[in-house]
């Protein structure tokens, strides 16, 4: 067994997913000793260029038409073949719809131990995982043989795993990829139409504090920048500024986004009842005693309209960096 740390680079439709950079950052922390390499595994068809922005030492690249887009069977077969030639200390997979399709199945096949839901690597090289919906933390150590790890987003920023210097490529010849049992037939893009706020990952919620219908544009702009949708509490809906399908609260929808950013919502109980499953609640309100601050993780006491312009500007800058 070498001390190298491998990671499976994820990409969909020609785009490297953020989790790949996050894994590169985690792998760097895990490769503690000088000389231990961080090595990306990249499968694709004419996709070698995808390695360029990743902060890894080397990339093992396998080119095959069947590998142009992810399917579990082809990836698993290629990984099994690859691991006949290599024996890394650990292999990182995204705990994602892509990585989770192969990691556990590969672990079962090769009898490699596997650790789920790694969030961070500790200073001493331990694995810090988050299970039970984030309610339990687990500190663990790599096993005494090649260990697979699934990585959750959130522990590292994608920028920490980016680099401008192109890593060296080692090419790997694909195994037999005939008679695969899983085939991708097509991608289906989401239909346009009104969003279902109960399914959105990022929600910008507006309340009475938004004051006028014209100001809703600001929330729309913010939602667009963050890739989310706008929803509202009762007073906004009652004014007819947004359709009832955007109402969050007892008489509207219950939501469970990763981010619930509320602007000018005081936090009446009938509203709070419907947002408690949100992962992170950030509240912006000019009233320091607004009850919303009792349930939010982060609070910002400012006048909304002085705040929103600098915020929009800075988000745009952050995205362009």
């Amino acid at each position: 067994m070498t001390q190298d740390i491998f990671l499976l680079i994820e990409h969909i439709q020609g785009q490297v997913s953020d989790i790949s950079y996050i894994m590169a950052a985690a792998a760097r922390e895990l490769a503690q000793n000088e000389g231990d390499s961080v090595i990306g595994i990249l499968f694709g068809s004419g996709a070698e260029g995808l390695k360029d922005s990743l902060a890894v030492d080397k990339v093992i690249y396998c080119d095959h038409p069947t590998l142009s887009e992810f399917t579990s069977d082809a990836y698993k077969r290629t990984l099994i073949s690859l691991l006949e030639d290599y024996s890394p200390r650990a292999i990182l997979f995204g705990n994602t719809t892509l990585g989770a399709d192969v990691s556990s199945s590969l672990a079962a096949h090769l009898k490699f131990p596997i650790i789920n839901s790694c969030l961070k690597i500790s200073d001493s090289g331990g694995i810090i995982s988050q299970i039970c919906g984030g309610k339990i933390m687990v500190d663990s150590q790599l096993a005494d043989k090649t260990t697979l790890i699934t990585v959750n987003p959130g522990g590292y920023k994608p920028e920490e795993g980016q680099s401008s210097s192109s890593p060296e490529t080692i090419t790997f010849s694909p195994p037999d990829l005939e008679n695969l049992k899983v085939q991708l037939t097509q991608y289906i893009e989401p239909e346009a139409g009104d969003v279902d706020i109960s399914q959105e990952k990022i929600l910008i919620a507006i309340g009475r504090g938004i004051q006028t219908e014209d100001n809703i544009e600001l929330a729309d702009e913010l939602a667009e920048l963050l890739g989310g949708a706008v929803c509202a509490s009762r007073p906004v809906i009652d004014q007819g500024w947004l359709s009832t399908s955007r109402l969050v609260g007892r008489s509207g929808k219950k939501v469970k986004p990763d981010l619930y950013l509320c602007l000018g919502i005081s936090g009446a109980t009938e509203h709070i009842e419907a947002i408690t499953d949100s992962k992170t609640i950030i509240a912006v309100n000019s009233d320091p005693d607004a009850p919303i601050f009792d349930i939010a993780q982060y609070g910002i006491e400012v006048d909304l309209f002085d705040f929103i312009d600098p915020l929009l500007e800075q988000i745009e800058n952050a995205k362009n960096d």
Partner: protein, 401 residues
């Protein structure tokens, strides 16, 4: 479905009708005049494809099957307004509407909001999906301890059945705290069931989940039968109704009173505690399950009138004609659904009535109501200053510290 020549059972409509006739006074359905008073008085009648009168007509015609596919039954708030006005004393709410909900539920036609409340009731013993271990967590805010009867292992005078919303809802909890404070001040010997208490199940029953109601009733009866007490008191008219009228039918007979009846009896001890209290006009809203269903109209009014400075006034609909807050019959768990169907909220009608009589305070006596009316008041012009208070909050406010 006829399988291998086995005779199929009675069609739905006939089966349904037969089941109604077995309910006490159910046979009155045969005497329906089709006067349509029920459909007219129904607060959501306008939004129903099958208001009660039409349901009876279609049943007589043997073609009620259509009703199962419609959403009509889920608009029923079980407020007893129809039952109250029926000239032929047909048990419309108890028999017709509740049985219809049971059938819709068995056929799998259940709005998603209601489904999760029913699942929560099964899993946690309360429809809010809160931890049963935290059922008495509200009492941590008090500066005295309330005995949990199982742990205290001693008889108490009053077994206070707290109820779901009164235990968990952040607004209704304040009423619960007020009642605890008052009982303590009066030196009443009381205890609660705490984590051993389950939902009374009455609203689940009225939402068509009779099996769940029976399961919850059995669990409560098992816990209560191990306690020594004189009587049960509750602030929740739905719990009161369950213990008074429904549990006995399952063989669980416990003496019960609503807190307003209990406090009227203690007015002599309460009155000396009142302090100077300012002036306010108070409109009292009769909760359906205290008023129309159980005919308790006077006790809450007597309490309000005893409080110095408060002037009791009546809204257009009062006592037996009171308007439902919209929370009954599973309404607490169908707000979104009913708004989509009707674009109206009963709680807002009621708040408008309070505004129309220039009330300063809308007084209530049911834990469903403070959050519903406060929510409604935000949307009604003229209701900006309207306060919503449970009667016991008014009493405790007037006593001061």
């Amino acid at each position: 479905m006829a399988v291998n020549g086995i005779q199929q059972s009675l069609p739905f409509t006939a089966q349904f009708k037969e089941s109604l006739l077995k309910i006490p006074e159910g046979e009155n359905i045969q005497a329906c005049l089709q006067c349509a008073c029920c459909s007219g008085v129904c607060p959501f009648g306008f939004a129903m494809d099958f208001p009660p009168g039409r349901m009876i007509a279609w049943m007589r015609a043997g073609i009620l099957d259509e009703m199962l596919k419609s959403d009509s039954v889920w608009m029923c708030v079980s407020c007893y307004a129809c039952t109250e006005v029926c000239p032929k004393d047909i048990p419309i709410t108890l028999a017709l509407m509740t049985r219809a909900k049971e059938e819709a539920l068995l056929a799998g036609n259940v709005p998603a909001e209601l489904q999760s409340a029913l699942e929560f009731s099964q899993q946690y013993g309360n429809p809010l999906g809160e931890s049963s271990r935290k059922r008495a967590a509200w009492s941590e805010e008090l500066d005295f301890e309330i005995p949990i009867i199982r742990k205290a292992k001693r008889p108490v005078d009053i077994l206070w059945f707290v109820g779901d919303y009164a235990s968990y809802h952040p607004r209704s909890k304040n009423v619960t705290i007020a009642f605890a404070t008052l009982l303590n001040k009066l030196g009443i010997d009381f205890g609660i069931l705490g984590p051993d208490e389950f939902s009374d199940g009455d609203s689940q029953r009225l939402a068509g989940e009779r099996g769940l109601f029976e399961m919850l009733a059995e669990k409560n009866a098992k816990v209560i039968s191990r306690c020594e007490f004189t009587e049960i008191i509750t602030t929740d008219p739905h719990a009161y109704n369950a213990f008074k009228n429904e549990y006995p039918q399952l063989g669980f007979d416990f003496p019960v009173r609503h807190y307003t009846e209990f406090l009227v009896e203690h007015l002599d001890e309460i009155t000396p505690l009142f302090k100077e209290n300012g002036k306010a006009k108070v409109a009292y809203h009769d909760p359906c399950y205290l008023g129309r269903v159980n005919k308790i109209y006077d006790a809450p009014r007597q309490l309000i009138e005893a409080i110095p400075g408060l002037e009791l006034i009546e809204m257009a609909h009062n006592k037996s004609t009171s308007l439902c807050c919209g929370g009954g019959g599973g309404g607490m768990w169908l707000d979104g659904f009913r708004w989509e169907k009707s674009e109206s909220r009963l709680s807002e009608w009621r708040v408008k009535e309070a505004v129309a009589v220039n009330a300063d305070i809308l007084a209530v006596a049911c834990p469903y109501e403070p959050p519903r009316f406060e929510d409604a008041a935000k949307a009604i012009t003229g209701a900006e200053k309207l306060q919503v208070k449970d009667v016991v909050e008014l009493i405790v406010d007037a006593i001061g510290n």
